[in-house]
């Protein structure tokens, strides 16, 4: 059992989705909710087990069908990927719990699709083979296409059309990039490619560079980096909030792929192609942060604000990817976990607020007051402080760490002002949002607020996500130690290559 642990975070969601499609779960709502929650929790527990195992025993390589790398397909669980798998599974549990409060009735197949999405994301994190990154991308994308339409409506159809078409073009570019790299290197296993890139000579170097940069375009599209970010605010703000909360992990898949390709493959030992994406990534990342902040300031409702906050976090993450050193990668991992959780919490919170405010929804205008101002207000201020990066929550720790790691880089003169002014802008925007959502209410004493109270499961999901942000501070020492170890493991390229090519269960 224990040697198959690496494959379970991919297999369990698939099993869960299939169970949920079959009778009795297919018809019976209660059975479906129960099965979905139980399977999500099992997946989470298994992911944590994998995390602990990898932490204690080092990189775990699982050769599917016992065909060893580089010819067979392998799943590679190192500290980085197992951390992200655990994060995804946790987010999955929270989203399923939130969905069980009633959001899953707005459309069919909510629960199976959630599990298919988790399957795709976990697979993309675990696979050690670039072509399978593509395959798992498609798995998570097709689940996300269907989830985006969950609930229906004009706005969603429009956003989905743009999103699907853009991603199909992106997938084509991904395949062309893969084709070029395969033609040059003769392999698609990431570890094997990393080994062979340094041996390239002559024109092959330029071909590999073209292939690698084409992949950069694809990953920039998936993670919504600046010129290719335009789809994100619309898509995320028109999706059902519970779906948008799960989507918070999807941009991070693009960042993860960048980390793998440009740190491991085109990393320190890539010869002529060493750090080839660095200059591009750095500039675009800062531009993304700035544009995201402008978007936050310009947004008219809470969901759009949150969607633009996702953009800001992507910009920050990519800036750290481009630094390509251990400390920056460790800060990146910490910030990634924090930003995914808090953005998801904000999406869910926006949903409850908009239900309780009736017609005005989550738009930043004077309207009916929320029914549970104390509960929602407290949650909102915690989430806002976390996402801005004010003490005492995890955003603050992440921000200090990021500023510290960028201090010595040559472009700190650009990054520091951009990042700090952005934080100021975020404070202003979120303070304004909180003011209009909670204070600018029209007190109409005559008509009682007939909106439903927040369902206990909804509160549990949001509190669960926000508690993690507190945990990230309380156990900050242990977690930062873990991320530093994970970053060291990622940057130890030859160690990784040896583990994948010589290992195998």
């Amino acid at each position: 059992m224990i040697q198959h642990l690496t494959s379970l975070p991919v297999l369990l969601p698939m099993l869960a989705a299939i169970i949920l499609l079959l009778p009795p779960c297919g018809k019976n709502l209660f059975a479906r909710r129960l099965a979905s929650s139980v399977m999500a929790i099992i997946t989470f527990v298994v992911s944590v087990l994998l995390l602990i195992t990898v932490h204690n025993e080092g990189i775990n390589v699982y050769a599917i069908g016992n065909w060893s790398a580089p010819f067979g397909i392998v799943l590679v669980a190192d500290m980085l990927s197992s951390l992200l798998v655990a994060l995804t599974s946790f987010l999955g549990v929270m989203v399923v719990l939130y969905g069980c409060a009633g959001d899953d009735e707005h459309g069919s197949f909510f629960h199976p699709l959630i599990h298919f999405l988790i399957l795709g994301v976990n697979g993309a994190f675990l696979t050690g083979d670039l072509f399978n990154v593509f395959v798992f991308f498609e798995v998570l994308l097709i689940a996300s296409y269907a989830l985006l339409m969950h609930g229906g409506g004009k706005q969603k159809t429009k956003a989905a059309l743009h999103y699907v078409i853009l991603n199909l073009v992106g997938s084509s570019a991904f395949l062309i990039g893969l084709g070029i790299l395969y033609g040059v290197l003769g392999t698609l296993n990431i570890a094997d490619m990393a080994q062979k890139i340094s041996l390239l000579t002559g024109d092959d170097v330029y071909l590999a560079k073209a292939g690698g940069l084409l992949l950069l375009v694809v990953f920039a599209l998936k993670s919504a980096l600046l010129p290719l970010h335009l789809w994100l605010p619309n898509t995320y703000s028109s999706a059902a909030p519970v779906v948008a909360a799960l989507f918070a992990i999807m941009t991070k898949v693009g960042v993860y792929a960048m980390l793998r390709v440009y740190t491991v493959m085109f990393g320190e030992q890539a010869g002529e192609l060493e750090h080839m994406a660095q200059t591009w990534l750095w500039g675009l990342a800062i531009a993304t942060i700035v544009v995201g902040a402008i978007g936050v300031l310009a947004a008219q409702d809470l969901r759009k604000i949150t969607a633009n906050l996702v953009l800001v976090s992507v910009g920050t993450l990519v800036a750290l990817v481009s630094l390509q050193n251990i400390n920056a990668t460790a800060a990146l991992l910490y910030y990634l976990v924090h930003s995914t959780l808090v953005c998801a919490a904000l999406f869910l919170l926006a949903d409850i607020i908009s239900i309780q405010r009736g017609k005005v929804g989550d738009r930043l205008v004077a309207g009916r007051v929320v029914k549970q101002p104390f509960l929602l207000g407290t949650l909102f201020i915690i989430a806002a402080l976390t996402v801005i990066g004010m003490p005492p929550f995890s955003g603050f720790v992440g921000k200090i760490w990021i500023l510290k790691t960028t201090l010595n880089s040559e472009n700190a003169m650009v990054f520091w002002p951009a990042y700090l002014i952005t934080s100021l802008v975020l404070i202003i925007a979120l303070a304004r949002a909180g003011t209009s959502l909670f204070w600018e209410g029209k007190y109409t004493g005559s008509e009682p607020n007939d909106a439903p109270n927040a369902h206990p499961l909804q509160v549990i999901a949001i509190v669960g996500l926000l508690i993690c942000s507190v945990m990230l501070v309380v156990f900050g020492g242990a977690i930062s130690e873990y991320t530093i170890k994970a970053a060291t493991q990622l940057h130890d390229i030859s160690g990784g290559i040896n583990a994948v090519l010589k290992g195998g269960v």
């Binding site: 072509f131 159809t157 989905a160 078409i165 084709g179």
Partner: protein, 115 residues
């Protein structure tokens, strides 16, 4: 053969991009299909173009690379699924939005249409 093959891929891609830029769902779907054909051809060629070589049978030393064929097969299957999805979505969009423009509304013409 290389020249013919390369031009074929190039023409397919450029037609596909042209159709994508039409911004109406039906041409866009056609364009996506063309691009995915071009991509499949391109992937196939990444194992080098050869003629009269055996598939891997374990007999000859000289064989065609089987991996791109496996990749193309996967890419075709995924491409089919995605195309099917985008067709259904386009139909849904036509029904929901009332026209087939990808933005959901037609660009207003500068010239008045005589009724």
């Amino acid at each position: 053969m290389e020249l013919l093959y390369a031009s074929c891929v190039g023409v397919l891609i450029s037609c596909g991009v042209f159709l994508l830029l039409r911004a109406r769902t039906f041409p866009v779907v056609l364009g996506l299909t063309m691009i995915s054909y071009a991509v499949n051809l391109f992937l196939f060629s990444s194992g080098r173009l050869t003629t009269n070589k055996a598939v891997v049978l374990g007999t000859g030393a000289d064989y065609a690379d089987p991996l791109p064929q496996a990749l193309v097969l996967t890419a075709i299957v995924i491409g089919f699924a995605m195309t099917a999805f985008v067709v259904i979505l386009a139909i849904r969009g036509r029904a929901d939005l009332g026209n087939d423009h990808v933005d959901g509304h037609l660009v207003k013409s500068k010239y008045k249409v005589r009724k």
